[in-house]
């Protein structure tokens, strides 16, 4: 029962993240939404590895989580740098202004 609820929680967190990325205009908020999605994925991995009941699977899952956390940290570094650059250009307030890829 708890497992099912926790899985639902992860789905909900992921959905919130997706919605945040798609809807929000502030780059900082988009960034937080991405982190939310990463954490949702982490939660699912932890649940899955604990449920498998095998030592090997459990440690593999934990390792995957650590890799994901490291990935998130790296993403923060790159993302913040991108955001700094955007602020410098005066396009930091809203993602609507950053349309350099427009065809």
């Amino acid at each position: 029962m708890t497992l099912g609820l926790l899985q639902l929680l992860a789905f909900w967190m992921f959905a919130c993240g997706v919605a945040g990325v798609v809807i929000r205009r502030s780059p900082l908020a988009v960034f937080m939404s991405i982190e939310l999605m990463l954490n949702a994925a982490n939660l699912l991995i932890v649940l899955g590895s604990g449920n498998a009941g095998m030592e090997a699977a459990a440690s593999a899952g934990l390792a995957a989580v650590f890799i994901l956390i490291a990935l998130g940290a790296a993403e923060v570094a790159v993302g913040l740098a991108v955001m700094m650059a955007m602020f410098r250009e005066g396009k930091g307030a809203s993602l609507d202004q950053a349309t350099g890829l427009k065809g």
């Binding site: 997706v18 798609v22 809807i23 205009r25 988009v30 993602l95 950053a98 349309t99 890829l101 065809g103």
Partner: protein, 637 residues
């Protein structure tokens, strides 16, 4: 460490240090560093000389293998130096003359904006030239060969802001490429058939592959000579050398008189075993040399620019050296190279001193009467001119006599070649003393803003040293009846005996003719140019057509322009509009245009809003998830 290794790398070290420190060093510091590097290299060359003398004559040929460079298939190439009497003499001449010219330049180039760079380039040149003469295989030789060409280009165009200097540098480079193309093909032929590029391997293997008198041997020798013709400015590739005088005068003295241009003669001496496999090629070498000697000598008669007179004289003297190579007198060629390095660089330094005194004036018809105010320069220039003209007992007399006598004794065609050599000698006397009289004799022909004066001590002393050498260097190889010839004997292990069997009194007779040619030339100069005004009348009257031909240098440049340069530019123009613009550009732009038009619809999807991209990604991921679910539930079971 072996002294020749130090002599090789010291100038390179100097060049690197001066160039790296060009911005920070005070100008005089840069000049001192560069001069010291070359001076030390010269001292090491003396050390190497005495070391060599300590060996028996038979054991004086050494290969110094420093480190392996590369392995191409079967051909292994290493940084191999050849240290033998031939390269030893070249090493001493190059570093010695270069040192004196460095000293001269310290004062001559003073006040130039790019003073340190001049010395860096000059040092790099000395390194390249030493590499060329010390190379132990054809690849290193070629590397030095191209490096001296590069330095020549850099230094001719040293005052590149002037269009004349820039285009002269380019011309030198392009004309040399023609000769070098032949040289490269020759090197590839050797690498491909002999499996080695080391001198030892090539000279040992060549007689088995390039059979004596065969077509392939002739081709190889002619291709090598093609390279030598370019570097040593032999007809028809002589056109770059007179234009190269646009560079600073010390450069003309060092590179375009004493050292680099003699590299072709050195190559011909070095490759003596290869040339001897094709006797026909030697006739060709001799005739090209003899023709160039006379041809350039006549042009020198009518030039007005002092440095150009000297440049054509260099071409003519190089022709004499090739004449010697062609008749098998390699020792005589090297001896003339040796003495010529002294008196020709001296004459150029003298021309530099005259320019220094007259504010850059080069037209000999605007000079005159300089003997009194420029005493020192006058005596030095006179010593150089006497040696160049072959006045008895000067250096040029003995070396030219060696060549003329060798030609006299050569079979076949000896007498014809000898007569041409004699004519070239007479012309030498005429044009060199024409220059002496027009520059120093008589009275000033134009009014001068201020009284000219001798150059400072740093320019005077190198000239004095070279003047002494020009007068005495000839005593190193006296005619054979004296049995005194340390120069020839020193070279014997490499070049062999260059003496011919001489019937009694033949050498004395040849020498008498050489003296007669000298007297005829100088006498003609005295008769014609003692009083400038009469000559002008003569040249304006009866001699006018001849003067026009000579003054315009037989229109060789014009012929090249009409036959090569213009058609080349026309073809290039047609290729540009016809193939490049209409073909490639149209094809590329057409493709781009089509892509642009076809993408009009697709572009609307690219809004640039990150949100839209994120939504698309999310929908795509969801779609994939649904697809995987459907496949797993409905298709796979």
């Amino acid at each position: 460490m072996h002294p020749v290794i130090a002599a090789l790398f010291l100038p390179l070290l100097g060049a690197v240090l001066v160039r790296a420190g060009a911005v920070r060093l005070v100008p005089s510091g840069a000049a001192r560093l560069a001069t010291a590097a070359v001076g030390l290299a010269h001292l090491f060359s003396w050390a190497a000389f005495f070391l060599m003398l300590s060996y028996a004559p038979g054991g004086r040929i050494h290969d110094l293998d420093l480190f392996p460079l590369m392995q191409i298939g079967e051909v292994g190439i290493s940084f191999l130096l050849r240290w033998d009497p031939l390269s030893q003499i070249m090493l001493m001449v190059v570093t010695g003359v270069a040192f004196l010219i460095h000293l001269y330049s310290v004062s001559y180039m003073e006040g130039d904006d790019r003073y340190p760079y001049f010395f860096a380039d000059l040092n790099l040149f000395v390194f390249s030239m030493v590499l060329l003469v010390l190379a132990g295989n054809f690849l290193l030789l070629f590397a030095g060969w191209e490096l001296v060409g590069l330095c020549s280009y850099l230094l001719i165009g040293f005052w590149g802001a002037q269009p004349v200097a820039a285009s002269a540098g380019l011309k030198a480079f392009v004309v040399n490429r023609i000769g070098d193309a032949g040289f490269i093909i020759a090197i590839l032929m050797m690498a491909g058939t002999l499996g080695s590029l080391d001198y030892t391997g090539v000279f040992a293997g060549a007689p088995h592959v390039f059979l004596r008198g065969s077509g392939s041997a002739l081709l190889l020798a002619l291709l090598l000579f093609c390279g030598a013709m370019g570097k040593s400015a032999q007809f028809p590739l002589h056109v770059w050398l007179p234009d190269a005088m646009a560079g600073p005068t010390p450069v003309s003295a060092l590179i375009h008189a004493a050292t680099m241009v003699t590299a072709g003669v050195y190559l011909a001496c070095r490759c003596q075993p290869l040339f001897e496999l094709a006797p026909a090629s030697l006739y060709f070498v001799a005739w090209v040399g003899a023709f160039t000697a006379v041809f350039a000598g006549t042009i020198a008669l009518a030039q007005r620019d002092l440095k150009r007179i000297l440049a054509y004289s260099t071409v003519s003297q190089l022709g004499l050296m090739f004449l010697a190579v062609g008749v098998g007198a390699h020792g005589a060629a090297m001896f003339h190279l040796f003495t010529h390095a002294f008196f020709k660089s001296l004459l150029f330094l003298g021309a530099g001193a005259v320019m220094h005194a007259l504010g850059g004036e080069l037209d000999v018809w605007k000079m005159g009467g300089l003997a009194r105010p420029l005493k020192w320069t006058f005596w030095c220039f006179l010593a150089g001119a006497l040696a160049l003209a072959g006045a008895p007992l000067t250096a040029g007399f003995f070396s030219k006599d060696c060549i003329l006598f060798a030609a006299f004794m050569a079979q076949p065609n000896g007498r014809a070649l000898w007569l041409m050599g004699l004519a070239a000698s007479a012309l030498t006397g005429l044009y060199s003393f024409r220059a002496v009289w027009l520059v120093f004799g008589g009275t000033p022909r134009v009014k001068r803003a201020h009284e000219p004066h001798d150059p400072p001590a740093l320019m005077r002393w190198p000239m004095a040293a070279l003047a002494v050498l020009s007068l005495v260097a000839g005593f190193l190889w006296l005619p054979s009846w004296t049995h005194f010839g340390p120069f020839g004997r020193f070279l014997e292990p490499v070049l062999g005996l260059s003496g011919h069997y001489a019937p009694p009194r033949a050498e004395e007779a040849a020498m008498a003719f050489a003296v007669a040619a000298f007297l005829a030339g100088v006498g003609a100069a005295w008769g014609l140019y003692r009083r400038g005004a009469q000559t002008v009348k003569l040249v304006g009257g009866r001699l006018k057509p001849l003067h026009r031909v000579l003054f315009n240098k037989y229109w060789v440049d014009e012929v090249y322009r009409a036959l090569v340069v213009k058609p080349l530019f026309r073809t290039a123009g047609r290729m540009e509009s016809g193939i490049d613009r209409a073909g490639f550009d149209e094809a590329a732009e057409g493709t781009a245009g089509t892509a642009l038009e076809s993408s009009t619809e697709g572009r609307k999807w690219q809004t640039g809003h990150t949100g839209h991209y994120a939504l698309a990604m999310a929908l795509g991921a969801a779609g994939l998830a649904v697809l995987v679910y459907l496949v797993q539930t409905w298709v796979l079971p």
